[in-house]
């Protein structure tokens, strides 16, 4: 059994300074670097070096056209670069509750209507791509 574990219960998701925690049902922040092949004749297996960082945050948000909710937050951001933040819990930022930030991440798509009969409208897979990653622990 793992000695430590984290389950997502009250994570904080902030998009362009707006706290959308109450509309968010899923969030995945992944740090990614381009893998640049550096294999040469002396190698017996392919080798790579890290290139540019290309991290991303993917969120699922319940859609709401109410004032100051999902639509009001995102409608002017699609097609632009924004700052997004996420931390595991709503407690104070610390080494055990780090706040991750992507500054200048590009929001390329905004699903406007994704409805099923009798189900809540969820804008799934909203992706913030790229940007400069940083983490705060205090």
């Amino acid at each position: 059994m793992a000695s430590t574990s984290t389950f997502l219960s009250n994570a904080v998701v902030t998009i362009n300074s707006v706290d959308l925690t109450g509309e968010c049902s899923s969030a995945n922040l992944t740090r990614t670097f381009d893998a640049l092949e550096s294999t040469n004749m002396s190698n017996t297996a392919r080798t790579f070096v890290g290139g540019l960082e290309n991290s991303s945050l993917v969120v699922d948000l319940y859609n709401s056209y109410a004032a100051s909710q999902t639509y009001a937050t995102l409608k002017s951001l699609v097609g632009t670069a924004v700052t997004v933040k996420i931390k595991p819990t709503s407690a104070a930022t610390s080494a055990t509750n780090p706040e991750h930030t992507l500054t200048g991440a590009f929001m390329g798509t905004l699903p406007l209507v994704v409805s099923s009969l009798g189900a809540l409208d969820v804008c799934g897979g909203i992706t913030f791509q790229g940007g400069v990653y940083s983490v705060a622990t205090a």
Binding site: S17, V18, A67, T73, K75, S76, T83, T103
Partner: protein, 53 residues
């Protein structure tokens, strides 16, 4: 330019909003989250010398 918070999703309502780097302020204003509170600055008075020597 100074801004005031209008919605608790951004912070305490009524307090000043100081945007971090990369924050799209126009989108926040358009979404009704903040408002600009800066007054237009007056231009310097132009002093015209009407004395004729």
């Amino acid at each position: 330019m100074k801004y005031t918070i209008l919605n608790e999703a951004v912070g305490e309502v009524g307090t000043e909003f100081v945007p971090d780097d990369g924050i799209n302020v126009e989108a926040l204003i358009e979404g009704g989250f903040i408002k600009s509170t800066s007054k237009a600055t007056k231009s310097d008075k132009t002093i015209t010398d009407t004395n004729e020597e």
